[in-house]
Each structure stands twice: as structure tokens, then as C-alpha cells.
């Protein structure tokens, strides 16, 4: 039977090498996705994922079962590393065109859906950081409000209000984008 995340993290804290490797293989994709949505850059997402599991090596014993799920705990660590990188990036030039995240639209869906995904990615990336975190944690990672609150280091009510505001801004942005893509019917766009 496959061990749960909680069992794996307990084993990691006890020094089990195989448990660490298993946790890494199982949860790296979740951490990478979160980091990619937060930073908008694949290289940064890779670095954040690496930083998270480096932190796990040192901090596994600090995970408290019952306070949050393991994923929420990992994403909380990822949030801190992503924020650090975003803060440092303010002093770096923007990535060149073509260096955007690897986002692959299904070819069968055509150009419209590809543009839709790209427009939404840009809209998400332009959200204020606190709202972006709430949207990514709740709508993309599908954490509960409680887990999202642990990951974001704030109260549940704060997560709810940030999520609400983030969705409002995204929806408004999408309406603007949709007008720009007038040849595509509305139902096709979203």
C-alpha cells in the first residue's frame, strides 16, 4: 500500500532516505506548478521547487499533522521562496520574449484557446501578489480555505476576501481581453 504524505514526511524527519525520494517524486509537480503560477518563469519555478525540498531536509520535523495537509505545508514553504525570488527579480530585467512559461494548449482546440490560456496567464501574473496567491492556492491547487490560510500565513477570512478580490480583477481583465478578441464568440473564449 502506498504511504500517505503524512507518513512520508514523518519518515523523512526520522532520516528515511527512500521516503524523502518518494515525497520528492510525488509532490515536486505540485510545488513546481504553484511556483510557476506565482513567478511566471520556468527556471524560477525549478529553483523554487529545489529550494522547497532543501528546506524539507532541514525542517521535516516541524511539520505538524492536523494543522494542515502536507501539500499546504510544502506550498507555504514554496510561497516564501517564490516571494524572495519575486522580490529579487524587481531589480532584474524582464525575461526576453519567448522565455515565458511552458504552457501548451491542445492543438485540437485551435488558436483561440491557446490565446485564451496565454491571456489568462498574463492576467494572473499581473495580479497583486496576495491576490495571486489566494487564486493559485484555492482555484488552481484546490486547497481548502483552511489549508490555503496555513500556506499563505494568514486567517481564513483573509484568504476568502483576497480570493474574491483576485477573481474580480481577473474577471474584469478577461472581459477586457475578450473584447479585444471580438472575432471569437464569448462561449468559446471562456
Amino acid at each position: 500500500m502506498q504511504e500517505s504524505d503524512e507518513e512520508l514526511i514523518a519518515a523523512v524527519a526520522a532520516g528515511d532516505r527512500e521516503a524523502f525520494a518518494a515525497l520528492y517524486r510525488r509532490r515536486r509537480p505540485d510545488v513546481y506548478r504553484f511556483a510557476l503560477h506565482m513567478t511566471g518563469a520556468p527556471a524560477a519555478a525549478d529553483d523554487v521547487a529545489q529550494d522547497v525540498f532543501m528546506t524539507v531536509i532541514q525542517e521535516a520535523a516541524r511539520y505538524t499533522p492536523g494543522r494542515s495537509g502536507v501539500i499546504a505545508w510544502l506550498l507555504g514553504i514554496a510561497r516564501n521562496h517564490a516571494r524572495r525570488r519575486l522580490s529579487a527579480r524587481r531589480y532584474e530585467p524582464m525575461p526576453p520574449p519567448g522565455a515565458e512559461p511552458a504552457v501548451m494548449a491542445d492543438p485540437a482546440d485551435g488558436i483561440a484557446r491557446g490565446r485564451q490560456v496565454e491571456a489568462l496567464r498574463q492576467a494572473l501574473g499581473s495580479l497583486p501578489l496576495a491576490y495571486r496567491e489566494a487564486v493559485v492556492l484555492c482555484d488552481l491547487q484546490e486547497l481548502t480555505y483552511q489549508d490555503a490560510a496555513v500556506a499563505a500565513g494568514c486567517a481564513i477570512g483573509t484568504v476568502r476576501s483576497r480570493l474574491h478580490r483576485g477573481r474580480q480583477i481577473l474577471a474584469a481583465t478577461m472581459r477586457g481581453e475578450r473584447r479585444a478578441f471580438a472575432p471569437w464568440p464569448a462561449a468559446e473564449w471562456l
Binding site: 524523502f20 513546481y32 503560477h37 511552458a102 489568462l120 482555484d139 472581459r175 464569448a186
Partner: protein, 69 residues
Amino acid sequence: MMNELEGNVDDRDLALALRRLDDAVVVPEADPLREAALMAAFDAAQERRAGASAGSTCIWRDSRRRPRF
């Protein structure tokens, strides 16, 4: 002019669009070099812990067994 349908982007539609965005993300395979670096860091941390643990045990035993003069 914007029609009614265009102006009506509700949470469900937005959630669906976000789901598509997440589905479209390609997670690259883990880099073997990065994975090896992590495993090496894990091993090093365990060695440090083992060393620290042995050291602290030794000090504790020494202090308990120190003869009183």
C-alpha cells in the same frame, strides 16, 4: 458596444478558464542532477545529525560520569 453575454464572466467560467490554464502547464521531468544534489544534501544532513547526536550524548555521559573530587 459590449453585449450582455460578453460582460457576464462569473466565477464558474473563471474557474473553468483557470482550470484550463493549469491543465496547460507542462511540468518538466525532474533534472537528475538536481535530484542527485538533493539526495546528497539529505545524506549530509543525516551525517551531521548523527555526529551532533553522538557528540551531545558523549558530553552528557562525560558530565554524568565525571568523578567528584
